[in-house]
Amino acid sequence: MVAPNHGVRRARRFDFLPYALVTPLTLFIVALALLPAGVTVVQSFFRVDELNPPTVFNGLENFRNLFADGAVRSSLVNTGLYVLIGVVLSTILGIIMAVTLQQRFRGRSVLIAVLILPWALPGVVEGIVWTGIWDSNTGLLNSVLSSFHLISDYQVFLGHNRLLTVFAIELVQVWQMTPLSTLLILASLQNIPNDLYEAAHLDGCTPRAALWRITLPLARPGIAIAMVQAVIATLNVFDQPYVLNGSADTGASLTMQTYFISFQNLDFGEGYALSLLITVATLIISLGVVKLVYRQVEY
C-alpha cells in the first residue's frame, strides 16, 4: 500500500477564465487603438495622398510640410494657448468648487447633479449655446453690457484679436471640463481622513492653513488626474473653435488642421503625421504634469 504523498503539491490547473474575461477588451483595444496607432506611426512617413497616388515612402517630408504650413504653425500657437488657459483655469476652478462641495450643506447633491450638466453636453451644442452669448450682433453679453451702459456700440469678441478669441473660446471648454475636474478632485478630498483636520484644529491650525497644508497636498493625485484630462481635452479641442470662430487663423486648433488636411485635402500622410505629433505632445505634457503634480499619498 502506498501512502499518499502529502508533501508534493499537485500541479495547478491552468485557469483560462481570467484570460477569457480580458480577451474581448484586449481585442477591442488592439483593433481600435493599438493597430490604428501603429498604422498612423508608419504611414506618417509615407505620402498617402488620395489625389496624388501612389503611396510611397517619403521620410520626414510630411513633417517638413507641416512645419512649413503657416496655418499649422498658427494653430500650434493657438493650441498652446488653449492648453495653458484651459488647464490652469479648469484646475483652479475645479479645486475651488471641490473644496466648496466638500462641505456639507443643503442642496449639495442637487448642485453636484447640476454641475455635471455642461460636461454631459456635446461640444457642438456648447458652441452653439455660447454663440448666443458671444455673438457680436445679437449676443447676450453685448446686450447686458449695453443695458448697463458699459458700452456704446456692440463689441466684436471673436475674430479680431487672437488672444481674446482664444480666451473666449477656451472659456467655453473650461465650462465643459471643470465639472469633471471638480469631481476628480472631490473624490480625492473625500479620501482624506477627518482625523487629520481635527488634529490640525487642536494644534491651532486655521482653515486656510489646513487648506494649504492638508487638503491640497493630499489632493495631489486627484489634481494630477484632473490636469491630465484637461491637457488631453485642450490639445484635442475642435468643436468649440470650429463652431464659434469657423476656420479662421485666430482660433483654429491643431485637430482642426488634422481634419482639413485629412478629410478636405485628402492628404492622409500629412494628417497621420500631424496626429502623431499631437499624440506625442499629449504624452509628453501629460507625463510632465504627472511628474510635477502627482505624489503618492498614504493616510
Binding site: A31, L32, L35, P36, A37, V39, T40, Q43, V48, E50, L51, A71, T131, W134, D135, S136, N137, T138, G139, Y154, V156, L158, G159, H160, N236, L244, N245, G246, S247, A248, D249, T250, T258, Y259, F260, S262, F263, Q264, N265, L266, F268, G271, Y272, S275
Partner: protein, 425 residues
C-alpha cells in the same frame, strides 16, 4: 483619432466587391443631409419597386467625412448619398462614384435640369441634382422704400448707392448682410459677387482669373471688404456664417439686403412668421451686375452612387424616382402638406418649378424659374477642380482676415491666387 481609425481601415479594408444588380426585394441605405420624404411616399416607392429604403440623415460636414472615410477605406457606407457641387471634381477624379450615365439617360435630363452640367467631371455625371439651389439677391422692399428708394437697382453701382442711402437716412444702421465668418458661405458669396462683376474665378485649367486689380474677382473682394469697412455691413459679421446671417439679420429686419442669398429663402424663411419679422417684405431681385442683371451661380445638392454600394442598380432606381418631376413638385408642396419633404423647396427640374409656380405654391416662383432657366450658371463652367476644398479654405480664411483688417485685400487676393496656382500646377 479619426485619422487613426481611417488608417486602420486603409490597412485592413477590403476591396470593393462590386455591387449587386438586384433591384427587387433589397434594402438600400440612402444617406443625405436632410430629412426623408414622407413615409407614405417611401412606402409607395417600396410597393412599386420592391426596394426598401433605409434613410440616414447626417449633418453635411459629418456626411462629407463619412463619404471620404468610407471611400478611402473601400468599405460600404451607403447605396446613395450626397454629391455636393463643390466636390464633383474631387469625387470624379477619385472615381469614388458610379457614372450616372450608366443608369439614367443623363443627356435627356440636361434640358430639364439646367444645373446637371455642374455635376459632370471628366465627361461623367457623378450625381444628379435633386434641388436647384443658386444664389440670388434679396431685398427688404419696406426698408428700401423707407429710404425713399422706389426703383430697384439693376447695377452694382446703383445697388451700392441705395445701400448708402438707407444707411445715411438712418433706416437701419447696417443695410447689407455679408457672412464674413471663415466658412464656405463666404467663398460662395465672393463667387456670386465676382459673377455679378462679370467675371469667373478660375479658367478651364484651374488658373486664377482674379489676381490683378482690374479683374472682376479682385473688384468683388474689394467691394465686399469696403462694405464692412465703410459700415454697410455689421462689424460683428466677421463671425456670422451665411445661414446665421439670413436667420438673425435678414429675417429680423436688421439689414435691408443680402447680395448672395439662397434661392428659396423668401418662401421658406422670410415669409414664415415663426422665423421672420419681415413677412411679405422681402423679395428676390435680379442680381445687380456691371451694366444690368448679372448671372446667378449655382450651388445645388446632388445624389449619387458610391462605388462600394451594395445595390447600385436599386440605388439608381431610387434616384430616378427621387428626382422625378412629379415627386419633386410633391416634396416641395405643390400637392398638399402630406407630401412635403421637410426642408425641400426648389426642385431641380424645371417642370417641378413650373408646377409649383402655376399652383401658387412657390413665393417668387415665376422669377426663380426664369433665373434658374436663364441665368443660373455653374461657379466653375469646367466643373469644380479636384482640389476645390483646399482652394475654398484659402478663399474664406484670407477674405475673413481681410475683413478683420489683419491683411489687405491685395494680400488676401495674392494668397488666394497663389494657392490656386500651386494647386493647379
Amino acid at each position: 483619432m479619426l485619422v487613426s481609425a481611417i488608417a486602420a481601415g486603409c490597412g485592413g479594408g477590403g476591396k470593393s466587391k462590386g455591387g449587386s444588380d438586384e433591384t427587387t426585394g433589397v434594402t438600400i441605405t440612402v444617406a443625405l443631409a436632410t430629412d426623408p420624404p414622407p413615409q407614405a411616399s417611401m412606402d409607395a416607392f417600396t410597393k412599386s419597386t420592391g426596394i426598401t429604403v433605409k434613410w440616414t440623415n447626417n449633418d453635411w460636414d459629418s456626411l462629407q467625412t463619412k463619404i471620404s472615410a468610407a471611400a478611402t477605406a473601400k468599405t460600404y457606407f451607403a447605396d446613395a448619398t450626397d454629391v455636393d457641387w463643390s466636390r464633383v471634381g474631387q469625387l470624379g477624379k477619385l472615381n469614388w462614384f458610379y457614372p450616372m450615365e450608366n443608369y439614367l439617360d443623363t443627356k435627356a435630363l440636361t434640358s430639364e435640369m439646367p444645373q446637371l452640367p455642374s455635376f459632370t467631371s471628366g465627361g461623367h455625371v457623378v450625381g444628379i441634382p435633386y434641388d436647384a439651389s443658386f444664389l440670388v439677391t434679396t431685398v427688404n422692399k419696406k426698408l428700401f422704400a423707407a429710404a425713399g428708394i422706389t426703383k430697384m437697382p439693376t447695377t452694382i453701382d446703383e445697388y451700392t448707392a441705395d445701400l448708402r442711402q438707407i444707411k445715411s437716412k438712418g433706416v437701419v444702421k447696417y443695410p447689407l448682410n455679408i457672412p464674413f465668418a471663415a466658412a464656405e458661405g463666404l467663398s460662395t458669396y465672393w463667387y456670386q459677387t465676382t459673377a455679378a462683376f462679370g467675371g469667373t474665378i478660375l479658367d478651364g485649367s484651374g488658373k486664377p482669373q482674379f489676381a490683378t486689380a482690374g479683374t472682376p474677382g479682385f473688384k468683388a473682394a474689394q467691394w465686399m471688404i469696403d462694405a464692412i469697412k465703410q459700415g454697410l455691413v455689421p462689424p460683428g459679421n466677421i463671425n456670422v456664417a451665411d445661414s446665421q446671417g439670413q436667420q438673425t439679420l435678414m429675417a429680423k429686419g436688421s439689414v435691408a439686403s443680402t447680395f448672395a442669398d439662397y434661392s428659396g429663402n423668401v418662401g421658406s424663411l422670410y415669409s414664415v412668421p415663426a422665423s421672420s419679422t419681415v413677412v411679405d417684405q422681402v423679395v428676390y431681385l435680379s442680381t445687380p451686375g456691371v451694366s444690368g442683371p448679372g448671372i446667378n451661380v449655382s450651388n445645388p445638392d446632388g445624389i449619387g452612387i458610391p462605388r462600394q454600394a451594395k445595390y447600385p442598380a436599386a440605388a439608381a432606381k431610387f434616384i430616378d424616382w427621387f428626382t422625378s418631376a412629379q415627386n419633386q413638385a410633391d416634396f416641395a408642396g405643390a400637392n398638399g402638406p402630406d407630401k412635403v419633404m421637410p426642408g425641400y423647396f426648389l426642385p431641380s427640374r424645371l417642370a417641378g418649378v413650373t408646377e409649383l409656380t402655376q399652383k401658387g405654391k412657390l413665393i417668387g416662383g415665376q422669377q426663380l424659374g426664369d433665373l434658374l432657366k436663364n441665368s443660373a450658371k455653374p461657379v466653375f463652367p469646367e466643373g469644380a477642380p479636384s482640389w476645390y476644398p483646399e482652394f475654398s479654405k484659402a478663399v474664406y480664411t484670407n477674405l475673413h482676415a481681410a475683413a478683420t483688417g489683419s491683411m489687405s485685400v491685395d494680400d488676401a487676393i495674392k494668397a488666394i491666387a497663389s494657392t490656386a496656382d500651386k494647386l493647379s500646377s
